[in-house]
Structures are given as structure tokens and as C-alpha cells.
């Protein structure tokens, strides 16, 4: 049952949304093991100077408090660069956690990619 670092991966893509958008597809568990991969992916996304960065949680099955802290750090980083941060694909439970932690006040929460992209159109 030992969970290893490989349980998290992140990749970046740039959808054709009419404006500079980067989507980071997250996969696995967002915890302390995810830190370097997540920050690296965020750096890749920022390299294209997107106005909006979207975090796709559709394939994430676990976020813990360390993961929340990583997202807070990403949010702070995005705000410093005047970039919007959006999220989609969170399940009901983690959506609730985003509300409780007030991350939802700063990160748009959307059910899926389509609605997220519509929100910035």
C-alpha cells in the first residue's frame, strides 16, 4: 500500500481559447509528494505568459492539507503575476473543501473544462 511519488503527475497544454490559457492536467494525489511536479508544471505553464491558468482536477482522487498549501502557494504566485487561476473537475467533496478554505473565493471553481473556458470567454 506504500504510496510513492509516482502517484502524482502534471502536464501542461494550451487550448485554443481565443486568449492565452494554460491548462495543467493533474493526475493522482495532491500531497507533499506532488510539490516538485506541480511547481514544475506551473513553471512550464507560466513560460507562455498565459493570462489564465486552469487546474484540471478531474483525475485527482486525493488532496490533503499539504496539497491545499501547494495550491495556496500557486495561487499566490499567479496573483503576483496578475494571472487568473481557475479550477475544474473537482468532486463534490473537494469542492466543499475549496469553499471551506475560501480557495473558491480566489480560484474559480467549474464543473468541467467547457464551463471553465466559457467563464473566461
Amino acid at each position: 500500500m506504500q504510496r510513492l511519488q509516482q502517484d502524482f503527475s502534471a502536464s501542461v497544454r494550451y487550448p485554443d481559447a481565443g486568449r492565452p490559457v494554460a491548462i495543467i492536467d493533474l493526475q493522482g494525489e495532491v500531497n507533499s509528494f506532488a510539490e516538485s511536479a506541480l511547481n514544475e508544471a506551473f513553471g512550464v505553464a507560466e513560460a507562455q505568459e498565459p493570462e489564465v491558468i486552469m487546474l484540471n482536477f478531474s483525475a485527482v482522487d486525493y488532496i490533503n492539507s499539504t496539497g491545499i498549501a501547494l495550491i495556496v502557494a500557486l495561487l499566490a504566485r499567479a496573483r503576483r503575476a496578475n494571472r487568473r487561476l481557475l479550477s475544474y473537475g473537482l468532486d463534490d467533496h473537494y469542492e466543499e473543501i475549496f469553499r471551506i478554505t475560501r480557495l473558491a473565493d480566489f480560484i474559480g471553481v467549474h464543473p468541467d473544462e467547457e464551463s471553465a473556458l466559457q467563464a473566461i470567454a
Binding site: R3, E29, Y62, N64, S65, I68, L70, H93, E96, T101
Partner: protein, 544 residues
């Protein structure tokens, strides 16, 4: 040195001279013992003591039952054996074999005999008395050894290891072994029974009654949940069999560690002291000692031992200890020591030091001294963090008892919080818990386990985190134990997200906040060596 053999030869040769050969060849009639009890106030005793020398029974005119008895036994002469003014024996002579009167020579010989025999008899009596006393002392020592053995075998060898509480006990037997006892009873629902008692009398009888009482208490407590009915049952069983004039004082307290609720009943034992923020109070519940009278009922009282509060139970061996001036230690001194200790830590040693100073070095301890201290550790905060497990004040009916569904331990290794989460989820799968609540519970379990591994056990793999899952059919409890302790887990403030985003605070610090918001109740117990985080979720049969 008196030579009784020489005296005997003189008597024998004199007899032989007076008798013919045939008579002399006959064996000397063997002396007979006259079994005669003489009252110490019999006038004859005073007469013998005042008039040493041979006494002719026929010549006496005393109103004496002893004299009448001696005459009845055909005693003619009595030679009192008086040593240091005390009558220690008598040589009683019947009629002479020759049927002649006793001559003046005979009387002189008897007086000489008495003068020499009395001290010898006295020495022999003293020697025999000493032997008897030595045998009696040995018997008593043996009895004390047996009593001590019984008592010490039956006293608890270990103190309860109760997260969130500190329990201490001190037992100091008097030389005569006074019959004090204490006991801890463990129940499946996590409750702990605490017993302190004192049997009247000392030695083996007290030890045997103590052993019986302990057994009866354990048996009754196993079947009956209320301390009052437990004592009622023990009294009913003990009363017909307890020796006359013996009884047992006994306090039985039942602690629910999760809530601090203590229900107790008291069979005439010294009242325990509770030390709370409002001061020191005696906890009362009325009831007669066990074994004294049949058909007794016992009052039952409930208190909540709040975090930081302590309860001291004691036996009368302390308050009734005397100093050389004859003063008693007294309740006031004991109460003052309790009041002087804001927390119970060190209270027992303080009471014992005070007692030692009071009674002085030459103290011969009159009775057993027994102290049992229950101290509830401080919570993370002065108030329960989100709702107490009891959910209400002491007046509401007690919730159903907790049943343990599962317990498991995990090494403190990064990532193992997922295992805790998944194991708990599997254990509670059959319980009526909505999908949303199950997800919240999983997150809370994972966060609490992570804290336990990281902050409690410093991620030392060999120090496990233990998880217990319990239910009382109304709620579900998950208790997560670590080996940390000492440092109190701080109450979480709502994290300041703006400050974190502005770089004024670190991004971390969400764990406890998340836990609090995931569960219906959160209790945190800390003591010197452990933390226990207790997560409560209310169950609902209406939920999917």
C-alpha cells in the same frame, strides 16, 4: 541453684526410715495434680501471700471457695509457693501414708522445700511463658505475612494507561495490615472503574474479607453498569457471610474517559476530593458500609471531571494518623494539600511528605494509607474544541456505550495516512453514513493521522500511530493515538488566506482547520506521552 533432686532424696530417706521394709519397698505414691482454679480475689490467695509457710487446711476459717475445694479433695496441708510476693503455685499434701499427723520436722522440711522450689518454679514458669510468647509472636508474624501476601497479590500491579488522564496510586500498609484496597476495572466500552475500600479489622481476617469483596465487586461490575447497583449487589452477597462486627467501606467510581463523566456510589468510605477551577469540594453519595446491614440501597451521583481537574480518593489511614502529641492529621490538612495543587501532579508525594512531617520519625503507622489520584489532562484549549463528546450537560441521559469496531496501528511513514483513511472507510462501510460524510471522515482521518505521524511521532517509523474505530449506534468515533504528548496541540485559528497569499504567512497550516470542519465533533486529549485526536461523526439511519 535449687537442687530439687536433693530435696526429693531427703523426703524419700525420711519416709524409708519411718516405714517398715515391706512398705518402703513399695513405690512412692506418685504425686497427683489437683486441677483447681483459684479466683485471684479468693481470700485464700491473700492468706497464702501474707502467711508464708505450711498451712493446715483444717485450721483455716475463711469464706473461700478454694479452701472448700481443697478440703473436698482431702488436702491436709498446703505449702504455698510464693515468689516476690506473688502466689505462683501450691504443694498440696493429703493424709500421710502412715496415717500419722504431720510432725514439726515434716513441716520444717516442707517449708525448706517451698523456699527453694518457689524461685525454681518461677523461673520455669517464666521460661515457659517466654516460649509461648515466642510461639505466639511467630504465629502472628506468619499471619501478618499471609495477610500482606493476600493483600499485595490482589492490589493492581499496573496503573491504567489512559490517554488524557493521569492515574496514580499509593498504598502503604501498616505493620498489622489494615485491610485497605484499591482496584481498577476495565470495560470494553473504554470505561474504567476505580475502587477504593477499607475493611474493618486487621490481619488475615481483614485480608480475606478484602479478597472476597474485591471478587464480588469485579463480578458485579461486569454485569451491572451502575455503581449504585453494583454496591447494592455486593452488599447483598457479602452481608450473610461476613464475620460479625466486620464491614467494608468502599467507593466505586466509573469513569467515561471520553467525556470525563464519573458516576459513583459510596458505601460509607471517606469522601473523595475534586479539585476544579472553583476550588476543592468533597463529592458526596450516601450509603452504608458493605456487609453491615441487608437490603441497602446506594445513592449514585454524577460529576464531569473537566480537563485540568483532579479527583483524590483516600483512606482513613491518612486523616486518622496521629502525631506524637496525639493530634490527628485530619481532613483539613488533607484538603489544604489538595487545594495547593492546581494540577494533581505531585499531589500524592506532597500529601505523603506532609504526613511524614506531621507524624515525625518515630511514627508507628496505625493503619494502612491508600491514595488514588485521577487527573484529567488539560485539553488543547480550556474549552472543548468543537462540541464535547457528551454533547450535553450532566443532566441528560448517558449516551449508549461505545463498542470497538476495529483497531489497527501504522508505522509513522509518509503516505500512510492514505492507509488509515482506507482502512477506516472499510470498517465503517456498513454504518449509516452518507457518502458526503464518509468523504469528510476520510479527509479528517487522513489529516489527523498525518499530524500524528509528523508532529506526534516525528515520522519515526518505529513509533506507530494507533487508530480505533468505535460506535455507539448514534455516532461513530475514530481515535487516533500518537506517542508524542507533552506539547499541547494548539487550537486551530481560521487560517488567514489573504495573509498567506500576500506572503505574510506560510501557505501551510490547514490540517487541524480541515479536521474541525469535516467532523461533527473533535476532541483532543494530550498528556505527557500521548495525543489522542477523537473524531466524532453522528450517524443517521435516514441517510443514504
Amino acid at each position: 541453684m535449687v537442687d530439687l533432686g536433693d530435696l526429693w532424696k531427703r523426703i524419700r530417706s525420711r519416709r524409708d526410715r519411718e516405714l517398715n521394709d515391706e512398705q518402703a519397698a513399695a513405690p512412692l505414691r506418685s504425686p497427683q495434680t489437683l486441677d483447681l482454679a483459684i479466683a485471684p480475689d479468693d481470700p485464700l490467695v491473700h492468706y497464702f501471700q501474707a502467711n508464708p509457710g505450711v498451712v493446715d487446711m483444717d485450721a483455716l476459717t475463711l469464706d473461700s471457695p478454694a479452701l472448700a475445694a481443697l478440703r473436698e479433695a482431702d488436702v491436709r496441708l498446703v505449702v504455698p509457693l510464693v515468689s516476690q510476693g506473688e502466689l505462683i503455685g501450691m504443694i498440696n499434701l493429703g493424709e500421710r501414708l502412715s496415717e500419722q499427723e504431720y510432725s514439726a520436722d515434716d513441716r520444717q522440711l516442707l517449708n525448706d522445700l517451698a523456699a527453694q522450689a518457689a524461685p525454681a518454679v518461677r523461673v520455669a514458669q517464666l521460661a515457659r511463658q517466654q516460649q509461648q510468647e515466642a510461639r505466639e509472636r511467630e504465629r502472628m508474624e506468619q499471619e501478618l505475612r499471609v495477610a500482606r501476601l493476600i493483600q499485595q497479590t490482589l492490589l493492581p500491579r499496573e496503573l491504567p494507561d489512559l490517554p488524557g488522564y493521569e492515574i496514580a496510586a499509593h498504598y502503604q500498609p501498616a505493620r498489622a495490615v489494615g485491610g485497605d484496597f484499591y482496584d481498577f476495572l476495565y470495560f470494553e466500552d473504554g470505561k474504567i472503574g476505580i475502587v477504593i475500600g477499607d475493611v474493618t479489622d486487621k490481619g488475615v481476617p481483614a485480608a480475606l474479607v478484602m479478597a472476597t469483596t474485591r471478587t464480588l465487586l469485579r463480578a458485579a461490575a461486569e454485569r451491572l453498569s451502575n455503581p449504585s447497583t453494583v454496591l447494592e449487589r455486593v452488599n447483598a452477597l457479602l452481608h450473610p457471610d461476613i464475620p460479625p462486627r466486620m464491614f467494608v467501606t468502599c467507593l466505586y467510581a466509573l469513569l467515561d474517559p471520553a467525556t470525563g463523566r464519573i458516576s459513583f456510589a459510596n458505601a460509607g468510605h471517606d469522601l473523595p476530593y475534586r479539585h476544579s477551577a472553583s476550588g476543592v469540594e468533597e463529592l458526596r453519595a450516601t450509603g452504608m458500609p458493605l456487609g453491615l446491614m441487608p437490603n441497602m440501597t446506594y445513592e449514585e451521583t454524577e460529576v464531569i471531571l473537566a480537563p485540568g481537574e483532579s479527583l483524590l480518593m483516600h483512606s482513613d489511614g491518612i486523616v486518622e494518623a496521629h502525631n506524637p502529641a496525639g493530634e490527628m492529621f485530619g481532613l483539613a490538612r488533607l484538603e489544604a494539600r489538595v487545594a495547593a495543587h492546581q494540577s494533581g501532579t505531585g499531589l500524592i508525594s506532597d500529601v505523603l511528605s506532609e504526613l511524614a512531617a506531621f507524624v515525625g520519625d518515630e511514627w508507628e503507622q496505625e493503619d494502612d494509607v491508600t491514595l488514588v489520584l485521577l487527573q484529567r489532562s488539560l485539553w488543547a484549549e480550556e474549552e472543548p474544541m468543537v462540541g464535547d463528546l457528551s454533547g450535553a450537560g450532566a443532566t441528560e441521559p448517558a449516551p449508549p456505550e461505545w463498542r470497538l469496531l476495529a483497531t489497527f496501528s501504522l508505522p509513522s511513514e509518509p503516505g500512510n495516512e492514505r492507509r488509515a483513511m482506507e482502512e477506516v472507510a472499510a470498517v465503517v462501510a456498513a454504518l449509516p453514513l452518507s457518502a458526503a460524510k464518509l468523504e469528510r471522515l476520510k479527509t479528517a482521518v487522513a489529516e489527523a493521522t498525518m499530524n500524528a505521524m509528523e508532529h506526534g511521532n516525528q515520522y519515526r517509523a518505529e513509533e506507530p500511530v494507533t487508530v480505533e474505530v468505535l460506535t455507539n449506534d448514534q455516532s461513530l468515533a475514530v481515535r487516533i493515538h500518537d506517542q508524542g504528548g507533552g506539547a499541547i496541540i494548539p487550537r486551530s485559528a481560521r487560517p488567514d488566506l489573504e495573509a498567506k497569499l500576500a506572503g505574510q504567512q506560510k501557505p501551510r497550516g490547514w490540517g487541524l482547520f480541515l479536521i474541525e470542519n469535516m467532523v461533527d465533533s473533535l476532541n483532543i486529549h494530550s498528556d505527557e506521552s500521548h495525543h489522542v485526536v477523537e473524531l466524532i461523526m453522528h450517524l443517521s439511519s435516514g441517510e443514504a
